[in-house]
Amino acid sequence: MLVHLINGISLGSIYAIIALGYTMVYGIAKMLNFAHGDVIMIGGYVAFFAMSEGAGLPAPLALLLAIIVCTILGITIERLAYKPLRSATSLAVLITAIGMSYFLQNSALLLWGANPKAFPDMFKNAEAIEFFGAKISPVALVAIFANIVIMVILTLFTTRTKVGKAMRAVSEDKGAATLMGINVNFTISLTFAIGSGLAAVAGVLLCSAYPTLMPTTGSLPGIKAFTAAVFGGIGSIPGAMIGGILLGVIEILARAYISSELADAIVFGVLIVVLIFRPTGLLGKQIHEKV
């Protein structure tokens, strides 16, 4: 039981890191960036090639490279595909995001082929850790630890720094934020940069935990992380964390005790039930405007 719980929290931590990208971008730009899952896949490939025999970079450098590439990719996607649609209908933006998702997947297919690549074991020198008799893999621990660190940093960033507070202001009211002298376009770019950098971290963790890398690797985790973001309350940073972890735990427990075929159905079933009773998610915003 304990080992399933910890594995669930670990998988959930990866979902949470991905969900942060969805939720922050939604909070600021009010759009669902369905290409987010594919940025994860790109991050995985970058790290894979950086660690492959030709380049032979050590794992931390490969991770850093993946973060840099994904950050630039995220900013570029926003500039080229989403910014021109800033005043378009949300449906147009949504369709563009889906198109961007296919564009990234097919670019990967063209560049790197459909054959799955075996992601190298980044923790081959580390041994599984015993925890009250449960064997926990190093990548599981790293995922949980990374999630905690990211949450703490993001919370401090959005509550203590000027730019972070401005980000919250922009997410509430772009017009009023502009009147304060906040550069809304810069803030949106920054949000995409952070979200995509986190996607790279999630991509490397995901590929380390489930070492098959192919152009569709990011799709299902992306959809699940999106579910986690909605589950926790889209737009809410702690919501993404709680939603991600709950989703991971439910998935692993369902897989272990009910049926591995039905696990995904159970995950999405729980989402539907939660949304029936709390349409804005667990921590969704429900403040009413006063006159």
Binding site: K162, K165, A166, R168, A169, E172, D173, G175, A176, A177, T178, L179, M180, G181, I182, N183, V184, K285, I287, E289, K290, V291
Partner: protein
């Protein structure tokens, strides 16, 4: 008197709707100038255009002798003017103090504590509530916060859009007293109001807007006694 703001022949469109049709007006240093008019006359549109949120298709806007038409919207505030928008638009999920800090976004951090004290002097209630989320404030308090937030940029020209909207009469009196106090302390005021009676009674000069055009102007006192203004905006 030095002219602080000079707008000439402004034409503003919402898509194909011609909302402002050739509006010209001036605000002199130290004045309280008000734009009055019915709903939909174009008062807020005019103010949002000056504040940089809307771009005029034609016309010029000069602030202290310098054109601000090409200035990016988020840089208008650094020029020395602040707009306190209609409906207050405080950041509901930010604390009162954080809202005020956002008002001083373009200013160096070292100057903020001093300005914060100045704002708290005008609005002692905000100091009592500085840690509270802005969304939990009453309407009057939110109006004070919106004004305090605009003041944080230390503007030489402060534009207020419908500060009395939705407030109880006693609060309206209080808000107008504060506007006068701010003006006495040296801030030039451009005020947009549906409450024409109150606005005209504190204004040095006023313009009457009707369907996107200025149809009348004069001193506040003159317009208070003007028959057509009385009939249209002052209830007889």
């Amino acid at each position: 008197m030095k002219t602080v703001l000079k707008c000439e022949n402004l034409h503003v469109y919402y898509g194909s709707i011609h909302a402002i049709k050739g509006v010209s007006f001036e605000v002199g240093e130290g004045e309280i100038v008000t734009l009055i008019g019915a709903n939909g006359a174009g008062k807020s549109t005019t103010l949002n255009t000056v504040g940089g949120l809307l771009k005029p298709r034609e016309g010029s806007i000069e602030f202290e002798g310098k054109s601000i038409l090409g200035v990016a919207p988020h840089k208008v505030v650094s020029e020395g003017m602040a707009l306190c928008p209609e409906g207050r638009r405080v950041f509901a999920q930010l604390s009162v103090k954080e809202n005020l800090e956002m008002g001083a976004y373009t200013r160096p951090a070292s100057e903020i504590p001093e300005t914060l004290e100045m704002v708290y002097e005008h609005f002692p209630r905000l100091k009592e509530r500085q840690g509270q989320m802005a969304g939990t404030l009453s309407g009057g308090e939110q109006q004070m916060l919106a004004m305090g937030r605009a003041l944080m940029s230390k503007p030489r020209l402060m534009m207020l859009d419908e500060p009395s909207m939705g407030l109880a009469p006693i609060l309206v009196d209080q808000i107008f007293e504060i506007i006068e106090a701010l003006n006495k302390a040296g801030t030039t005021i451009l005020l947009v109001e549906q409450n024409a009676q109150m606005a005209l009674s504190i204004a040095d000069r006023a313009y009457v807007l009707e369907t996107g055009r200025i149809v009348n102007s004069g001193t506040g006192k003159d317009l208070l006694n003007d028959d057509s203004v009385k009939k249209a905006y002052l209830g007889g």
